[in-house]
Symmetry: C2
Subunit: 340 residues, 2 copies
């Protein structure tokens, strides 16, 4: 009798839990939070069906420091795939150890395919456009397009790979194709997380505090801006909305011409300290607190913050496995062995 009662109670508890999870899932989806598709074909379509050969070439270029003037800085220097797709410093450091002139930090390259616009001021609309910017920018990689194309063109194995990746083009080695290849690789840097499993139907994928945090995240209105498939990245928003950002004095970035700032992706946010455009805040709890004050005009409680931070942890995704590329040698002098 006791056993039956226990079983009934447990079943009811599980049913209620499942129902609650189902409700929360519906709430999240209604709030505009979208899971990364678990189906690889659907995902591939979503990221623009990047061409395999371009992806493979783009991976090499992404890791190749010879795309910079000094030969020392690659895309991966600031968007380090080993450390959440960022460099972990407040203001990006580039050519000649130059700090970003506006004290801007490097946004993560993971899931950047889900950004409707690129750069903190949203000035580029695609990864293909974005990839060219930092290579040419003086304080970053400082390499004029012509130099980069010359360098690539002097490496026979690259020339062959460009020919294969951009079939039928007469002069495939050019700056635009370089950017297209890098972007093709970047499009693949998608990181499904436990939160996606939850949205895709696995009620147990989130812990209780994470679910609480998600509920608060939706209830307080965070998802209004940090929505979509990137959990952010859908466009530009004013910052701050209420009051004054207390670290506004660090750097001189004021957003685009209308004072709008790109909404960062929250995926892998636990990997990408320090926070805000100027990297002023190292603690994620503190960042959430400030967002409450400056964007919602609300003082979040410690408990609310702690649950939101727990939820944000569930956005930490599985990074794609990357075999470190062996780059073709630029020694022009390299001998070709005779045919055996």
């Amino acid at each position: 009798m006791k056993k039956i009662l226990l079983t009934v109670t447990l079943s009811l508890a599980l049913a209620s839990n499942a129902m609650a999870a189902g409700d929360l899932r519906k709430e999240a989806i209604d709030a505009g939070l979208i899971p990364i598709p678990s189906d690889s074909r659907a995902l591939n379509k979503l990221i623009g069906n990047p061409d395999d050969k371009q992806v493979e070439l783009g991976k090499k270029l992404f890791f190749d420091p010879r795309l910079s003037k000094s030969g020392l800085i690659s895309c991966n220097t600031c968007h380090n795939l080993a450390t959440g797709g960022v460099d972990g410093v407040a203001s990006a450091i580039g050519h000649g150890w130059t700090s970003n002139p506006h004290h801007l930090g490097s946004p993560t390259v993971y899931n950047s395919v889900f950004n409707a616009v690129q750069m903190w001021d949203g000035r580029f609309s695609s990864l293909e456009e974005q990839a060219k910017g930092p290579i040419e920018a003086g304080p970053e990689m400082a390499a004029p397009a012509e130099l980069v194309v010359d360098r690539i063109g002097s490496i026979p194995a690259y020339v062959e790979e460009f020919k294969r990746a951009f079939k039928g083009e007469k002069e495939p080695v050019n700056f635009d194709n370089m950017a297209r290849a890098i972007a093709a690789f970047e499009r693949t840097l998608v990181t499904p997380s436990r939160f996606d499993s939850f949205l895709n139907g696995d009620s147990k994928a989130l812990a209780e505090n994470e679910k609480k945090g998600l509920s608060i995240f939706i209830g307080k209105g965070c998802a209004v801006c940090h929505g979509g498939i990137g959990i952010g990245g859908e466009g530009m928003q004013p910052f701050p909305v209420v009051g004054k950002f207390k670290h506004a004095g660090i750097g001189d970035f004021k957003g685009d011409k209308d004072g709008m700032v790109k909404v960062p992706l929250l995926r892998n946010i636990t990997n990408t300290a320090p926070y805000f455009h100027n990297g002023a805040v190292w603690s994620l709890s503190e960042a959430v607190r400030i967002m409450g004050e400056n964007q919602l005009g609300e003082k979040l409680s410690d408990d609310e913050i702690s649950n939101i931070v727990a939820f944000l942890g569930s956005l930490e995704g599985k990074k794609p496995e990357i075999s470190y590329p062996m780059l073709p040698s630029s020694t022009k002098d390299t001998p070709k062995p005779d045919a055996n």
Copy 2:
């Protein structure tokens, strides 16, 4: 009849070719050139049987820029495994964009386990000792040991990994163990080449010009210093022996207290331009010409140089496959999810 004759002729030619290859192989081995063992157990013993857990941890540390003061420079920055284990610049660039004060280049980390001594002046005898040097050196990674240990100790996943890699130690997270792990990883960076296949018995592994080059390399005496399993790296030698190194004016490096310089490994030399301690020479042919003049007191002919360079190309080895490590996050604030 014609067919038989052809067969006989061909067989004779092949036999003579095989005999010649056998002679050359014997000559090479007699000259002290040693192949990387093709047997994995023998190779493992040769590299000091590094512990798997230490290798895996060491790989992460090798790629981790947080071992530097700035958080931006990793071992891999100067010893880039994507580009032959070097940075491809004449004088290494470190913290704050400081050029090496003696205009010294970064030697390759591939096969560095075969160096009897480390550093251009040979001041360290093991990789375990060497690994600490550049991390602490001001113009390189500029991180005091204490800072590094603090950083590592603040990353929970690293602390766990040190415990597993250095079992039974009371305080496994320390600077020496960090260096031991990095060195364990470096010990695995061995690159067998076509030359090893040749020495191990595959006569067809080398093309004719490569064989000619090998024969000249031995005949002229290059193998006297560039011998052993690293094809170099067996110890210190005077440089220059004859005359004056025409690029001696670049930097102020004069060798150790006796004017002796570590003999570089020639494995993967086609990947590691520029050449000499001060990176003064970009062309491998030119480097060979200078070595002839300054070390052998001999003017090598263009033909001899071209064959030697061809032989050196056969030392370009297969690099181990490396999955790019995903490094544990240092966000102290990262939440631990409740047990489900």
